[in-house]
């Protein structure tokens, strides 16, 4: 047992920290710190700063322009980035699609798409879920029928995160209705500018519209945009999901949220004393911190086992459940810390309007929207119920 980092890892951390303090734009960090909404331009700015440094794609091999970091380095970067209030990197192209293209794509697809993910020329979104296919993803119905050298796509995707910014969508589509549902699915890359693609925003409980419905009406997709083999898409989809689940514990996010929470609690007077001295509130915060301390080690245990060649399998379900519950608890506490100032809904402030008044402490306006938004953590990426089923089957053999 050795809980410490190596000298190289410590040096790596120092380098990351220096980079962040020099390059992360203050205006973006400030928005992230206060839970304000980031614009497309904010996200693109941060991506291009990282790309310039060669750090945009930590998980990619160097040959494709990635940083090729190991899991511990990625973990360190994640922690430092959250600590500095860097926004999260939009994962759809970088950590979801890219590994699939590297493993199953054609050379032409890799040549065409991978560089454009790094430069930001392409913004990808994930077209998996449909109105009738959520947890039961294999039930998806969007049809793709071969017509000469094109697939003709008809159907609907939903919950497409940041689809409003995207110009490409990777989709699971049904190419065979005669076989078992998992065996008739294909993985298609669709240019969203193609005639027949319509994107409609969905406003969520926090008042923002970060997800969309995407409709396909006789959309013609060239066959060269099929990834791998027709009808084998389920294999690629599952491979992608294992990558979606890296960093699933969100330790860095929880660290940053805890730090914010403690700062707010120490600076909020309730009943004549700081909220951090209120025994009921302080006990909740302490319990979250204790959980986080243990979870950091749980995470590293799982992650370092994977580093030695063992893929984190069902264990990542454990990280997903514990990690999301903790992040949700931290947002619930921040909301509660805001007291009555959590009530006003101030979209101008959340949109980053510089003169928009916060009416109360600076963290208050985003407290309730942030809490509501984070309900998604236990729903997407495989709901927590589905994860528990995985644990009970795969680990407990029940």
């Amino acid at each position: 047992m050795d809980l410490g980092y190596t000298t190289e890892q410590d040096a790596f951390r120092t380098m990351v920290r220096a980079f962040l303090s020099e390059k992360l734009p203050a205006s973006i960090a400030e928005k992230t710190r206060l839970g304000k909404r980031l614009s497309k331009a904010d996200m693109e700015t941060w991506h291009s700063i990282l790309n310039e440094k060669g750090w945009l794609a930590p998980n990619w091999p160097k040959a494709y322009g990635g940083a090729e970091w190991d899991v511990v380095q990625r973990q360190i970067f994640e922690e430092e980035a959250c600590f500095a209030h860097a926004p999260r990197v939009v994962p759809f192209g970088l950590t979801m699609l890219a590994p699939v293209l590297m493993k199953y794509g054609t050379e032409a697809q890799r040549q065409k798409f991978l560089p454009r993910i790094l430069t930001g020329e392409d913004w990808w979104c994930q077209g998996y879920s449909e109105p009738g296919a959520g947890s039961d993803l294999a039930a998806l119905k969007t049809r793709a029928v071969l017509d000469g050298d094109h697939y003709v796509v008809n159907g609907q995707k939903t919950w497409t995160t940041l689809g409003q910014h995207a110009n490409w969508i990777f989709c699971l589509v049904r190419t065979n209705t005669e076989v078992k549902k998992q065996e008739g699915i294909s993985f298609l890359l669709i240019d969203m500018k193609t005639p027949g693609v319509v994107v409609r925003p969905i406003t969520l409980i926090d008042g923002d519209a970060e997800v969309n419905e995407v409709f396909f009406d006789n959309v013609r997709v060239p066959v060269e945009n099929l990834v791998g083999e027709q009808d084998k898409g389920w294999t690629y989809a599952k491979y992608l999901l294992t990558h979606e689940r890296t960093n699933i514990a969100g330790v860095g996010f929880s660290d940053a949220a805890l730090r914010t929470l403690k700062h707010v609690a120490a600076n909020t007077i309730a009943g004549g004393k700081p909220l951090s001295r209120n025994p009921h509130f302080a006990a909740r915060v302490a319990q979250a911190e204790i959980d986080l301390m243990a979870m950091r080690t749980t995470n590293l245990r799982v992650v370092s086992a994977a580093a030695k060649g063992q893929a984190p399998g069902a264990e990542s379900s454990m990280l997903k459940i514990k990690g999301t519950l903790l992040r949700q608890e931290l947002t619930a506490l921040l909301r509660r810390a805001a007291g009555p100032d959590a009530m006003p809904y101030l979209p101008d402030y959340l949109e980053g309007g510089d003169n928009a008044d916060s009416m109360g402490p600076e963290h208050a306006p985003a407290a309730a929207p942030g809490y509501f938004n984070m309900r998604k953590l236990s729903i997407f990426g495989g709901s927590n119920e589905i994860q528990r089923t995985i644990i009970s089957k795969a680990i407990l053999d029940l």
């Binding site: 879920s129 009738g132 959520g134 947890s135 039961d136 039930a139 939903t158 919950w159 969905i202 406003t203 969520l204 409980i205 008042g207 997800v211 007077i269 309730a270 009943g271 004549g272 209120n278 009921h280 509130f281 619930a332 909301r335 509660r336 805001a338 007291g339 009555p340 100032d341 959590a342 009530m343 006003p344 809904y345 101030l346 009416m359 109360g360 309730a368 929207p369 809490y371 509501f372 309900r375 998604k376 236990s378 729903i379 997407f380 709901s383 927590n384 119920e385 528990r388």
Partner: protein
Amino acid sequence: MDFNLSEERRMLRDMLQRLLSERYSHDARRKLLASGAAYDTEILSELADLGILGAMFSEADNGFGGTGFDIAVVFEELGRSGVIEPVLAVAVLGGALIAQLGTDTQRHLIDQIISGQTVIALAHSEPGARYDIGDVSSLAVAEGDDIVINGAKTHVINGAQADHLIVSARMDTEIVLFLVSKDTRGLSIVNHANVDGTSGARLQMTDLRVSKAQQLGGHGTAITALNATMARAILAVSAEALGAMEAAKDLTVTYLKERRQFGMPIGKFQVLQHRMADVLIEIEQARSAVINLAGHLDAEPKLRDLHVSATKNLIGRVGALVAEEAIQLHGGIGMTDEYALSHFARRLTMIDHMFGDVDYHIERFIQLSSA
């Protein structure tokens, strides 16, 4: 013991249910919110015509109710339909204070309140005061026959829609209340929407000049009346939360039966069945807590306040559970603004931020029960 509603209250509830089911659809409510209006004035007057506002006042105050159970019955229905019209501000907060403290002239307002012609708001909370009702630092200073008030108020429920405001200020160390009309010089009011669709306001008082006749209640009466009013308001929002919980539960149960994944209704998954069973148990607890408080609303203050804090704490805990579980069991659809559940979830959550949250009331309960 009798846990049944009286005949009159059952009729009141049925009438209110009928009006709301005919006139208060989720779509209409969303359209109204999107228009930027704080509420529908027509609905408010229909509620008044039905006697809903009058039911919040005793016969001595020209109403025909005013007990804890009247408040509980009415607000449960308002909560079940997500009503944003200012019944709380007008008939519970403002109305109760005037009924307790008003002079004969001031009490004329009660008739106008009951008939829905006047909107009145309580401007008491101050920036940074959180849930502490004794934390008032606006200052009232006598100047000849007048009184001049300076200070700031926040989270004034329906403050910008009110014709009259009750403002509190400190005068010779005592908290004192004044009844002022909205366009008095020195009063500036800024409206904002709340997360749950209700409306609040900030209020600035700059050399706000009132006459002695505008004082509401004599010196030394305000804090007692405010405490009694808070008890009524907490009962109202607790019953409202109960209605919202029932609505959230009904939506979720229906959805569990309709939504199919893996070839069957998701309500067939035992893990979800058990979660819903727990939700039901907790909502029954919430109903009992509301009944407890309704039955002790007119008890001596210490016993009353023990129930106030017990109920508000329990409602806060159960409200969070119901909101979170209902969303989770729906999956993505539960998070959409278009679907009614997210509105109930927001209201349930925000009610914990009104008049003291779970932590505030558990601390107060400990103090009251150990004293």
